[in-house]
């Protein structure tokens, strides 16, 4: 009996999981289909760019600054052993533009903007704003979801770039201003070693993918949230957890594809 019950529970959960993936895929397809409508009313995207992008700037810049400062300190300690302190700029810049910039910025974006998107849409559902919109013959996917989706996708690479820029400044501050690494070496070696296509564009591509994934998860969780306080709270938590795991797993896949042992 218990074996039957266990199999039944596993089967039920599997069916639910597959069902949910199907619903999420349909939701994502509808969002893309209604994106044209969103772009025609670009003021909606601009408004969302402000709340997702501009409002995330402070946390992104402050975090980038401190990550860069830590990189500067740790990098100096390691490079000093090999007498390569002058390569500190290269280490800080590559670490940030290839890896830490896109990944940490995406994690921060998921916690700050992603959770806010989920909570906002979940609460709109709980207070019947989405039903009201539907009964006013306005498609909520086109009016609410698509502008937020594209705002998130556009914001993410820009925020990652800001994170990397702030991080490089943090590394410069600790390495050059505080410790005394040669300023000329710091900047010139960085300029010589960082390749625009191989390093910077790949980093931008990563952050673009993270932007699509995090925003899609956040919007779907909000739209699919049960219309109760507990439902919205659970959906917000799921957004942060699922997005963070997706970012870290995708980061490995993308890194392997972009830089995997070919150098």
């Amino acid at each position: 009996m218990s074996v039957t019950k266990t199999i039944s529970v596993i089967g039920h959960r599997s069916v639910n999981a597959v069902w949910r993936i199907g619903v999420a895929s349909r939701f994502f397809t509808l969002t893309l289909m209604h994106s044209g409508n969103g772009f025609r009313r670009y003021n909606l995207i601009v408004k969302e760019l402000f709340s997702t992008g501009v409002m995330s700037l402070i946390i992104i810049i402050v975090a980038g600054l401190f990550v860069g400062m830590v990189l500067g300190l740790q990098g100096y300690e390691t490079l000093k052993r090999y007498g390569s302190e002058s390569a500190l700029g290269v280490m800080v810049a590559l670490g940030l533009v290839r890896e830490l910039g896109p990944v940490v910025a995406a994690l921060l974006f998921a916690s700050r903007a992603g959770s806010a998107m989920t909570a906002e849409i979940g609460l709109m559902k709980a207070t019947e704003q989405i039903s009201a919109m539907e009964l006013m013959a306005v498609n909520p996917i086109a009016r609410i979801v698509a502008p937020r989706f594209w705002a998130g996708v556009i914001s993410m690479p820009l925020l990652a770039a800001m994170f990397s820029a702030a991080g490089i400044f943090g590394g410069y501050f600790v390495g050059v201003v505080q410790i005394g690494v040669d300023e000329g070496s710091f900047w010139s070696q960085m300029q010589a070693a960082v390749d625009f296509k191989h390093d910077i564009l790949n980093g931008v591509l990563k952050s673009f993918v993270f932007g699509v994934v995090v925003t899609a998860i956040a919007l779907f969780e909000g739209y699919d949230a049960p219309p109760t306080a507990e439902g919205v709270s659970g959906a917000t938590t799921r957004t942060v957890v699922t997005s963070s795991l997706a970012i870290l797993m995708l980061d490995f896949v993308l890194t392997a594809m972009m830089f995997g042992g070919n150098e």
């Binding site: 019947e128 704003q129 039903s131 009201a132 006013m136 013959a137």
Partner: protein, 277 residues
Amino acid sequence: MRPLRLWVHILSSSALVEIRDLNFAYDKRAVLQGINMTFHKGKLIAIMGSSGCGKTTLLRHIGGALKPTKGYVKVDGKIMHELSQDGLYEMRRKMGMLFQFGALFTDMSVYDNVAFQMREHTELPEELIHDLVMMKLHAVGLRGTYNLMPSELSGGMARRVALARTVALDPMLIMYDEPFAGLDPISLTVVGDLIRRLNDALGATSVIVTHDVQESLKIVDYVYFMAGGVIVAEGTPDEIRASDKEFVHQFVHGEMDGPVPFHYPGGDYRQDLNLRA
């Protein structure tokens, strides 16, 4: 044409909403069973009944948000569940719905809430939209609140702003889901009076789903009583007041006991208290 047939023809041609043998179930739980209703143009109709009797589900069928398991809802000659997505949206542009707590868009001001449908569905210049919004807000007595956010309004004011938004495009059919819930006595009278006046001024047809018997009987033309997914009584307010049906009597007079029991069905009380017989 014989007088009786002529009378039937006149009545049927003036019907804006026809509900015939409507059945609906959530999974296997029947919510609506064989509902038949007719809402004539220009009338204000109330659908009353205790919580969970299927009133809101019925309203959602009229709005085309749910598909019946049997029967149909016909609005303005079109069967709602047979309409395509575009057809449904076209029909909804002729409808307005006031939700229980207003459902105002919390990220927009009062002005933008009322202007929402005008901007979405018309190409009207902003100057004209401004005038129309002010007129709608004036009609509900809240012109002075145009630049406030929904969070700055009281419950009654939010309901009135939502009412202004509902009638923004002068709909032919207005649906109200519990418009009196949670209102103080003054707001309750104001909202009730507005519903009647707006219906008459716009020449619309209105349907109110409500628990509030006394306020509704003052303003409506016809009442349907529902219980357990079926219609248990119907008639004009005077007929309802004079009705000797047990359910109607209990509901209209707010009596604790009657066909609607006070206690939810449960096990033996003594057993639940662990008492021995």
